[in-house]
Symmetry: C4
Subunit: 193 residues, 4 copies
């Protein structure tokens, strides 16, 4: 099994996911600036989801960079990750259409949480494949960011039932956590190259 085609397929799916989200921002019917107002929550939810998919693309890239051989399990773990990520546009659209209301914040958190779990499974399988002493395994280490993100998603989901803005802060915090480039992995691989 060739890694290149797995990367190409994942890139294709991620490129489509990130781009079809924009289709949720429907062209307004009116022709004045005021008609753009209902698009603001949609636009904001688009920004955050764009960043999320960008982060996943970025991390996915590093993860597969450290993979030497694809097997059936890894292939399906990758599909599983793409599956949950493919639901981000729907969750984003719902959140944007209903101005970050309670249920949509919960759903968004659930999709992000399940994506994170799927990513974790893929990461585990790749580490098992490469060995606990591999460069990748060392680079990931205790996976501080991954664990923190998962906790923040749970915080976001639970708090969405009480105070929506706390969910929002939790989801934004995860995005910021990852936006800062992952020095650990970059450093280890660079020293290897």
């Amino acid at each position: 099994m060739n890694k290149t085609r797995l990367e190409a397929f994942s890139d294709g799916v991620l490129a489509i996911i990130i781009t079809i989200m924009v289709l949720e921002i429907k062209v307004p019917h009116g022709h004045e600036f005021a008609d753009l107002k209902p698009l603001i929550p949609k636009f904001l939810s688009y920004i955050i989801s764009f960043i999320y998919v960008g982060i996943y693309w970025n991390n996915h890239h590093y993860l597969l960079h450290g993979l030497s051989k694809v097997n059936g399990k890894i292939l399906w773990a990758n599909m599983h990750l793409l599956f949950w990520l493919s639901l981000i546009p729907v969750a984003t659209g719902w959140m944007g259409e209903h101005n970050f209301e309670q249920a949509s914040m919960t759903l968004y958190g659930v999709v992000l949480f399940l994506s994170a779990i799927a990513y974790f499974i893929l990461q585990r399988l790749i580490i098992i494949n490469e060995g606990e002493n591999s460069v990748l395994a060392k680079a990931i280490g205790s996976d501080f960011k991954g664990i923190t993100s998962t906790i923040l998603y749970v915080v976001g989901i639970v708090s969405s039932f009480y105070t929506e803005w706390i969910s929002g802060v939790a989801y934004l915090a995860v995005a910021l956590l990852w936006l800062i480039p992952d020095k650990r992995i970059e450093k280890v691989f660079n020293s290897k190259d």
Copy 2:
């Protein structure tokens, strides 16, 4: 004719097929959890179709891995396969919108059946091209999975006229049959590599 570009084009089409299916899950108009309820059959039909397209992508990958030279016939047999696969989103959407009702179960089975036939034709042409003694021909052998799948599709189509859930079981059975990684092909190619 270059195999790389055939793979790249097929990957692109399959990535788009698997992702536009999610567009059938329309953002619900209400803003409560209850408004997600009508999405459940759509979601379930999305899961199964996602798995199906994933299986085709996976098998297609192995099949083309064993191909040494593309000719016009193989190119069009590949297009023919992509054609039927491209109808999966419509069939999935219909099935999801009408809660797996009779006619939609029949249509879904027909699309899957014709995709299987198209795959079989492509496989035959590649084997003819590579020779009956090629690694690929040996790996496919009696094509137990392919034949079983085709029979199960027919069972699913016929039973959809009487009892829908038997169709559902048949389609699920095919998905499970293929989800288990194809040890035969993997083994043969690995021993070759």
Copy 3:
């Protein structure tokens, strides 16, 4: 300028064009077989357009195979071709929705005609680039198929104003003309390889 990225971009656009056409086949609202009936003209128009885009992808592949160096003119001639091809889904949708009625047959012919002109321009620029004695120039020769197709499009467009089915025959004839693999180019390149 790298040819690979031009091919990759064109492949991406063609893969999307061929796949978004299926979005014109909207999921029927009813749940019986009879509800599929209005989809028949859409389905037929989808088949023919799928074949057309497939032919363009195929020919485009051969054409760029014979190209050694991309320049700005070729790049924009390629964009120009993609532009007209990108209108095929709209023309297909209109033709399918109105059961191959007069105006839609004219429009379809016009889009195909302009695509053919764009292809011809791209071909000329590549031949100029490669030289009249290049393998590609010899392979294309008098461009019998290209000229015949253009004439048939004109026949189709003109006859659409009087008898729609003659247009249909003309467009189908072009598709069949190209479906038969282009022995000329294949032969020349194979002898070169």
Copy 4:
């Protein structure tokens, strides 16, 4: 970080952006030529946006050609550029649906302006990475075209509040400015190759 995958992902996103714009040209309900009339402004706005995205793809290609090593900042600057470009279809659709009316002309200009800023940031980061004496830095030089474009966008945005057609002229002028192949960069790289 591998440049190839960054290019592939960007190509995918740009190919999708350029193609989904055509989805704004909805299939007309009537079946006569007159029913195509309301599509004319949509078609014109599609042409100009198609050219714009084509220009960005072209320039992006040259820019990344001159890049030797991807880092986190460049990756996110690239995502930032793709973000603004992904809004072109919505802005195009609005402009087309409302016949180039005032607010839509302003919005279109703003999206183009922000895309230009994002491109400028990406260019700066790459030059910093490659060094002020790099081939790329010399090729870009005083960035006459980039600066002129930005000024023209501002002119277009401001004039959209008074006379829409001046905006139109400004946006068209930018497109023409870039359509002429960039001799500077091409020359420098060609002399290097």
